[in-house]
Structure formats: structure tokens, C-alpha cells
Symmetry: D2
Subunit: 209 residues, 4 copies
């Protein structure tokens, strides 16, 4: 079975993201990079797709949570998503870090993409993830699996204070209790081993029993 | 020179806090504890003062920060405080964890005490401190010193989003850049070695150079 | 049912530990503390027992692990212990921090007490625990429960490289796989909610599925 | 001035590492990846060099330390290195994560490469770095700078227990006190802003003053 991709063309078109990478890099002042502004097409969509099979890709992921007034986690947000072929699966906020982009900006961008502009996420002041999830194309190498690439993901717990209006292919955000989020039933619905990631997130906030 | 105490009678009277401990314990349902509701005075102020010289005291501390929209720390809040004898020193939010009180509640209580009710601190979802600061009565055992007790402090970085109106004996909150907060000049003004604590806090959020 | 105490008289007699506290403090140079060397009896065993019902006690705990050559956790060590009345339960390394003792020294002391002198534990260079476990006398306040006291525990994962020969009342150390250590069956046998602590430990090392 | 590269051809030839990536991927069973075993040359050295200018590269870094019997850091190891053009600079263990390689294996490989086979490093059981260092080709975007690429580095503190015999272009390992390692003098000699990384490492182990 094909695991839905955490960064498929539908969500972040390789060509598109690539152009975006270039634009971001240009905006950031990286015009001096050889092969930069002068020739944005030097690495084609196909070439990048192949690079993705030769280099580990850097990702960020976020487990959205609701907290009470003292910061304790009360609920966990899980995304319901339809794949291009109509398969429904559960996931969390996830996406690639672009060339020239900070991890923090990438995290913010993907939170906004997946939860909408009114989610008001509170990004942590610390740059350290609660875990580093390593996705390999071959199942069993680690707890995480992505059949299209080797991805290394910095995973964060992110309180959100506003209203989530999923965009793109995320159909909805389901809020559940820590117990429900840690259940085997949910883990079975999650793609790429992310049930483990949610449990690890809960443990990091003292909410796993 | 006597280091101003992080938990002096003026801020948290031992007898008073003790009564408060008892009240909290009672409210929390610990009435069944031997010597509890039936005899709140079984451990006198003097006895507790002596207990403080025989047991490590559990503290929480918070380095207040301002963050930008992506969570990066832009400013650090330092408290200016006058000791009972009029000495001025710099410190951070600090106070004891009471019997029956969660660490999280203690952190919230001391933030409110020291920064006022409109500070709107965002307590972290994680229960883990950025460091554990061990204060010993003899200088030199560790980086931290408190001549009245052996205190072990769980230290947190806490973004505050509102307006700080210091109460009790904290005269004001000074906001400064990470560079200023990490300076030798500030460290020299801070009590008990807390200059080291502020630097360690900055390092934990990637803001120490 | 009475939860076996993590620091009962049998393991660390209150009077004895108190004397030990005093001795340690004396050795550490704290002789100048009022009421110190001149009068070791100023806080009697009974008084300390009562202090323990009025102050949060500071504890350290350790989940012993075996690691492979690259540091990945392969096994978890769980202690089998008989209570004074002959009840068998499972636990981890646990004990109080004494007055004047560093957290690191307390951790080392309890590891040696519970695993024997040939365990060769590798204490982490970081002072930060993987979690802070709060034990309350009333069940349900948190995931952790200790009917004799309010204890706050700094919990660490500690690789051990030698041979464990449990001392005192620990009957044996059982080494098990991460899966087994995270099981409901084991959690049911563990005292005071420490099944949760073991799972949280496993999550912190990326070994919880 | 050109900052010596943390991953120059001399240390990890792009073509060579690429071939190594391929070999590792093959050994790991990734032969089924399109364009894999059948055509190892589909992404040439030049193409990869260009990919490095379009994608963030994933790195691992290690600050080697000596610890005492209770795990406290007593010394920090800094590498002295000569660049291909004879410039001397100070650095730490650093290198790229290859396609199909775990972060842990990459860390071990680079420790062995830079410190020799008798260093006996003790990799941490946790997968979480003490910080995430982001190197940008343009100075000033972050504390870290690498004029050849955008690299994101997972940085670890690693106790080493054996004898260091630097290989490749690392001339020697200098062991120094935490105070010396945190000094401005050392920071000025370190490449790419790694003085900040060393200080952040020291803070994470409670050894920064």
C-alpha cells in the first residue's frame, strides 16, 4: 500500500515549491549564488525529484494542541486528509524546509497552510524539536516511513489559540483528548507511523499515560 | 555581602506561606494528612525555618521574554528589586513550590506575583525546565548561591504578552535585548549567580551569541 | 491499597538519612549553618517526618537502560522489589536528594544503592531531566501517586554498562525490550504510576512505538 | 574572507560522498528506488553540487567533551584544522547526513572520521539535539554562516572516553576548560560562528558561567 505523501505535488508542487524556493532565495538576497537569478531553471522539476532520491530532505512537523491557562495540554489536533486518489488518512502538520528558509519560518508557513490564517499558533521560543523523526523509504528502518523519500523531520508541539480552517487537501482538524490521541485506534489511521510521533509529542508535554 | 533572598519574609512570609500551604492542602483535599486540618500550627514558623536548613527547597524560576510572531525571542525581562534594607539588585521571577501545589501552578502564581495580573504569561506545555539551578549556601559549590538555604530551582523561559506591573518588592521590569541580557555588566548586578541563569536561558532559545 | 513507598524507612531510614544529611552537610563545609554541627538533634526524626507532610520533597529517579554502540536504547532495566510486608512490585531507581547534596551526586548515590557498585552508570552531561514527575498523596491530581508525601522527581534515562547486583530491598533487575517495558502489563505492576514514567522515558529516547 | 567549509571536498568529496550515498543506499536495500542501482550516475557530481545550492543540507555536529565520574563536563575538545590553502581554524566535529543513513549513524561516522577509531564516543540515547544550528550563505541571517550552502545542523554534546587521533585534515584535538571554550578568544578563531555553538553546548550541560 502506498502511504500518502507528506509533501505531495498536490500540497506543495515540486515545480512550484522549487520556483518558490528560488523566489524566496532571491528575496532573501541569495542572488549571488551561482546559477541563481540568472538561470532559475537550471534544476528542473525532474532533476529535483531525482535529488530527493539522493539526499535526505529536511522537514518540519507540528502537533497542534490546545492548552489551559497554565499551559497544560488539554486537546490534540489531528488533520483528516484525502489523498489525490480519495483515500482518507489522519496526519499532522508537515512540510519541507525550503532553501534559504529558517526552520521557524517553515514551521509557521506550514501551520498556516494546514490550519488556516486564523489558527494563531504559538511557536515555541526554543529551536529544539521534541523529537527528530526519520522517515525512510523502506519500512522498518525506523518507526517512520515515507515511500517516496528519506526525510528527516524536526517535530514540535504547537499550541494554537484561534480557529482552524484547514486549507489545501486537509479536510478538517479533529480535536481529541490526549488519551484518544494516544490510542491504537488513532495510530492505525495515521500515515507513515505518525501515531508514534503523536505519542512522543504527548510524552514530551507530560500528557501520555 | 548578603545576597538578597529569592524568597524572603517580605515576599513570602514563612509563616504566611506556611498557612497558605496548609490552606492549599486543605482545599486540595489533603485534610487526611496527619496533623493536617486538626492542627495547622503543628509545624511552627521557627520549625519550618529550621526545616529549610535541613532539606533542599524546591523552587521555580522564570525568565520572562518577548517574542516575535514566529516565536523568536526579541527581549528579556529583568526585575529590579529593592531588598528590605534598600539594596537594589536585579533578578528574575522566582519562588517556592508549596506543599500540594503543582509546579505549573507555582510557576503561574509567582509570575502573577512578580509581573502583575495583566502580564498574560504563556506557560510552556512541556514540564521540563531549560535547566535545573542548584543554589547552595556556600558559594562555589555550583554557579548559584543562596546564603539562607539549599534550593533547587526548575527554570523556565516564559513569553509574556501583556503589560507587566510588578507587585510586592519588585520595583520594575526592564526589557532588554538578548545581547544586553547576556552581558557581564548585567550579570554583575544579578543576585545569586542568576546572570548565569539568564545566559543559559538565552542559549536554550538560540539567542546567545 | 498502600503504594509501596519510594523512600521508606527500610530503604532510607528517616533518622538515618537525616543523620546522613547532617554528615554530608558537615563534610561539605556547611558547619556554619545555624543549628548545624553544634546540635544535630535540633530537628528530630518525628519533626522531619512532619516536615515531609508540609513541604514538597525533592527526588531523583533513573530509568536504567542498555544501549548499542551508537547510543540507541535496546533494553530497559526494571527493579523487582519486595515491600516490608512482602508485597512484590516493580519500580525504577528512586530516592531523595539530601540537604547539601547535588542532584548529580544524589542520582549517582541512588544508582549505586539500587544497582550495586559494578553497574557503571553513565550519567548524562545535561542537568535537565526527561520529565518532572509530581507525586501527590491524593491519587488523580497527576499521573503519579505517593500516599506518604508530595514528592517532585527529576527523572533521567541512564545507560548502565556493567553488572547490576541490586542491594537493599531490590530483589533483582529485569532487562526487557522497549516494547515490553511500555506494555500495559508492566504498567499494572509498577508502583505509583511509574509505568507512565517508563513510557515517557522511552519516548524521550525515541524508543516508544 | 572565505570561511573554511565544514564539508569540503578534502573531507568528504562530493562525488565520493555521493558514491558512498549510493553504496549505502544499495546496501540498505534501497535498490528499488527509481534511478538507483541501475544508474548510479544519473545525478552527477556537478548536479549534486548544484542541488546543494537549491536544498538545505542536513548536517550533524558534535562538541566532544570529557566528563567526571558523575557525568559533569570537565573539558571540551576543539579541533584544529588546516584548510586546503593552509589557513588554520578551530572547529568541532561536523558532517553531512547521507541519503539512507540514520542521524545516529552519521554522527558516529563523523566522530570516528574526526577523532579516530580509539575515541570511544558515548552517543546520547536521546535523538534530540541540544540546538539546531542553521547555517546560511549570507552572514547575519542567523548566528551561523557557511558561504557554500544552506545547512541545518543537529548539534550534540558527546562524551569521549578514549584517545583522540584526528584523521583527515584535522591536525589535533585541543582539550580546554569550559571557561576557555566559552571565551571570546576561542570564538574568534572558530569558523562559521561555531563559537556560539560551543557556548550553547556548554549552557546545555550547565557548564556556562
Amino acid at each position: 500500500m502506498r502511504t500518502p505523501d507528506p509533501d505531495p505535488n498536490e500540497r506543495e508542487p515540486i515545480g512550484g515549491s522549487d520556483d518558490a524556493d528560488f523566489a524566496a532565495a532571491g528575496a532573501g538576497g541569495f542572488g549571488g549564488v551561482p546559477g541563481g537569478a540568472a538561470n532559475p531553471g537550471w534544476l528542473s522539476e525532474v532533476e529535483l525529484a531525482e535529488a530527493r532520491r539522493r539526499l535526505p530532505m529536511l522537514y518540519v512537523e507540528a502537533v497542534p494542541v490546545r492548552t489551559d491557562g497554565t499551559g497544560a495540554v488539554t486537546q490534540v489536533g489531528v488533520l483528516l486528509r484525502a489523498s489525490p486518489v480519495g483515500e482518507i488518512s489522519r496526519t499532522i502538520v508537515s512540510g519541507r524546509v525550503r532553501y534559504g528558509e529558517t526552520v521557524r519560518d517553515a514551521l509557521f508557513r506550514h501551520l498556516e497552510n494546514d490550519l488556516g490564517p486564523m489558527a494563531f499558533p504559538l511557536l515555541p521560543p526554543q529551536p529544539t524539536p521534541f523529537t527528530v523523526a526519520e522517515y525512510f523509504p523502506i519500512p522498518g528502518v525506523s518507526a517512520y516511513h515515507d515511500d517516496r523519500q528519506h526525510a528527516v523531520s524536526l517535530a514540535f508541539v504547537v499550541p494554537v489559540t484561534g480557529t482552524c480552517e484547514p486549507r489545501q487537501d486537509a479536510l478538517e482538524v479533529t480535536w481529541m483528548s490526549p488519551e484518544e490521541a494516544a490510542s491504537d485506534a488513532l495510530a492505525a489511521e495515521m500515515e507513515g507511523g505518525r501515531g508514534t510521533l503523536v505519542r512522543t509529542a504527548l510524552a514530551s508535554v507530560g500528557a501520555l499515560r
